[in-house]
Symmetry: C2
Subunit: 484 residues, 2 copies
């Protein structure tokens, strides 16, 4: 998934385009003498950590293991459980205090899924044209022998309302909202995604309200390689649950073309199951601080993934660069002043139980959470980091930015949310961070069968490792409280 990082200060886009950096914050005169933010030693160590991260292949090897040896890690699956055990074991090997935080998680299992055009203009007798589709996470099943119905194509929610119940009742609605590839291509993949994902999340409810018996959504993603993008969907109390699937870009185009020529009838077969809730875990591993061990800086990624690919970019990479922070500090024999807490979240994709449970159980301890970082947008080149917090905190971050600028990652984007799992902390005032990624290709693979290890560019993963490690260590050793 992708959290709702919003660029609330347009100025930062301006800075980005001008090639400027947030160094300006550090240069602004302050009313009182500038307090020490980072000791000289800390600054030197941050540079040392950065170089070590850029050289390390620890995160790459971990990403490979999670992707290839363990594979897709949907919440509740045996692979998710193995990933919990594996990551806990790796963190213990690094000598950290590891605990498993017990969670009660949803357990949805994909089944068979098949789509076919069974009637349309010009169809060759005795044939069916295949529709590439995949059930959306949480969808109910169709009848065991499938659902056959006419398709009605709408481009957006307004069109659905306009054509009304008489044209929708008893049919399958295809929401043909187009993922904005141009927007993604110029760097705003997240914005393009959020817009498209609205149909994936809310399409079933909207269509069912007009009497639809099934819903298809054009994939919320940029693939043009006959891949369907899965992802979470919702039902609402009092609205009939209908089966929901994403079709590939190509199949949406075909159905739209054929529907303009006449009747299009489709057969849809989905056999997913929602099993009883089950038990899973967040993996939590602490590297104790030397001076303020009760103050915590979280570095994290989510361990669960969708089930179609290997969950490499979403989010083995994020877990791996987070694991790497402790590895690097051990390797360099550096101990942070505050505690750096690694968390591998469970169930980000279809419930966020891990993130919510953590925030609940730590409710009395939120003020001790100095900062939280989540890496959950792949592993492409980072241009800097997102910061969800008070603008007054920006000058405190400028020295970190200055170091990251050396690797081309010197920008800061002030935003509202930095990651889905840490959002329950962010909303309680914990300053929150994430890499600001180049997202131009991320949404071409995200939530598809092509989210595989080969999509990781080793150099770019190393850059991410450096951003996360420098940021985590810098925050852990900041000499002042961060305004919150």
């Amino acid at each position: 998934m992708y959290s709702k990082i919003k660029q609330i200060f347009v100025i930062f886009l301006g800075l980005f385009l001008l090639g400027a950096t947030v160094e300006i914050f550090a240069q602004q005169p302050t009313a009182s003498p500038t307090p020490v933010l980072y000791t000289e030693k800390t600054l030197a160590q941050m540079k040392q950590i950065q170089q070590a991260a850029l050289q390390s292949d620890f995160a790459l090897r971990q990403t490979a293991y999670l992707s290839y040896n363990i594979g897709a890690r949907l919440t509740g699956s045996p692979q998710a459980q193995r990933a919990v055990e594996y990551v806990a074991g790796e963190m213990r090997k690094l000598g950290l205090d590891v605990r498993l935080q017990k969670l009660t998680v949803p357990h949805w299992v994909r089944g068979e899924e098949r789509g076919e055009l069974v009637e349309y203009d010009g169809m060759a007798r005795g044939t069916k044209q295949k529709i590439v589709l995949t059930a959306l996470g949480g969808s109910i099943a169709t009848a065991p022998n499938g659902l056959v119905a006419d398709v009605v194509v709408v481009n957006n929610f307004d069109e659905l309302t306009q054509i009304g119940r008489k044209n929708i009742e008893g049919k399958i609605v295809l929401f043909n909202n187009k993922f904005d590839r141009e927007m993604a291509a110029i760097g705003f993949g997240g914005q393009a995604y959020r817009h498209a994902a609205g149909y994936r999340g809310g399409g079933a409810i909207a269509a069912a309200r007009f009497g639809a018996i099934g819903v298809l959504v054009r994939s919320a993603g940029g693939s043009q390689n006959r891949l369907a993008h899965t992802g979470a969907m919702r039902y609402a109390e009092g609205v009939k649950k209908i089966p929901a699937a994403a079709v590939s870009f190509e199949d949406a185009e075909m159905i739209d073309y054929l529907a303009k020529m006449g009747k299009v009838k489709i057969k849809l077969l989905l056999t997913p199951q929602t099993l009883p809730d089950t038990t899973s875990y967040n993996v939590i591993a602490d590297l104790k601080g030397s001076e303020k061990p009760d103050e915590i800086v979280i570095v994290s990624g989510h361990l669960d993934s969708w089930d179609l690919g290997q969950g490499a970019i979403d989010d083995a990479a994020g877990v791996a660069v987070s694991m790497q922070v402790a590895y690097l500090l051990r390797q360099l024999k550096i101990r942070p002043k505050r505690t750096i807490r690694f968390v591998a979240w469970m169930n980000e994709e279809n419930g966020v139980v891990g993130g919510r449970t953590y925030a609940q159980e730590e409710a009395a301890n939120i003020s001790k959470h100095f900062a939280a970082i989540e890496s959950d947008l792949g592993a492409n080149h980072p241009v800097g980091f997102h910061f969800a917090g008070k603008p007054e905190a920006l000058p405190f971050l400028a020295p970190i930015s200055k170091i990251l600028k050396e690797q081309g990652a010197g920008l800061i984007n002030l935003t509202e949310e930095a990651g889905t799992d840490i959002d329950p902390l962010t909303s309680k005032g914990v300053p929150s961070f994430a890499q600001w990624f180049d997202t131009r290709t991320y949404f071409n693979y995200h939530h598809t069968a092509a989210d595989t290890f080969d999509k990781i560019v080793p150099r770019e993963l190393a850059e991410n490792g450096a951003v996360i490690a420098v940021l985590a260590y810098g925050l852990a050793n900041l000499e002042q409280p961060l305004p919150r």
Copy 2:
């Protein structure tokens, strides 16, 4: 498929890189006074045809119909038969003499296909990791409940020989030969493809000779989107037939990684069937010449396709631009001097029965085939055309090139073969032609589920239509015999 177009004259590459064109041929002094090659009227008409083609959407609409309304057209399928009837009907609508040339064609039908890793290092108990694969055309089936065996990975035929029978017997061989994407990216997609396709075609024979019981080949194509590229494969007399499938790039990478860590066992299920040979047809439609009606210029594409996608770039587009020649001439009320013969070939992909039967039945009439054109490499921007014939013929083609240069398609590449279906004519001396395409993306989609109509760029299809129509009309109206 893709015929073996070979660049035998390196000089043409040099000209290409220098931005030069074959106009030099026209400027070379000749011993005798230059004969008239094209009348002024013909030259003017060629320009008129070019402009009409660049404006027309006829080929685009035909490509859409073949791709969407008819769909994949594997030889022997109901869709292939419908395509025969549809194209014949369209050509009759244009007022051409249409005949169906009866063929006895192979009838291979894809079945279920599934691959799973069932044992490897780190595997989560109770899980299987999916392998994306597709049966190669012509493959036999596995046992009905599949084939379970260890995988042995080799990068090429030499490695197979080196590791020998003791390491291969009773196993499944994965030929992990890498498609050269860099070569494709700089414009040599065909060369990259030919190299990779050697393993697809010959892998089963080579592996079976060492006792393998199944063969997987890394896809002969550039997709990095979890798509397997199908294509034809061969068996040999006296060598055991073993099931053969292509795995996606991603799956080849994963198997290779896991095999380096230890044993990898795979379950392979393929249920294709080779049914008795059946009847199909080449569609042949003549636009009679006004002066030399017995001399023939063929314009053609192949009507059959692989079955995974819609056969849009391979080769609905080629059929459509060929159909368009007659459409344009009718629209402009222009009649060629020689007969322009449209042919939609059947069975290019898995047998070339259409091309071979035509050449056999026209054996006594080969000298009347003035030229043959085949469009079978998609619909990307054409930079000129390939010519398989005598170098002495090049000056005769220069005026055509000069006109095509106006649309950025002024280059000629002297080669040995211009198209699979017309190759039986080429080898008997018929001057043969094809567009010289930008092939940088073609092999990313070719023979995959993503060979769909959306891959056609309307402007570039129109450019192809112009190259084919200008070339066909120019050849039909050439005032001199073409050296052969």
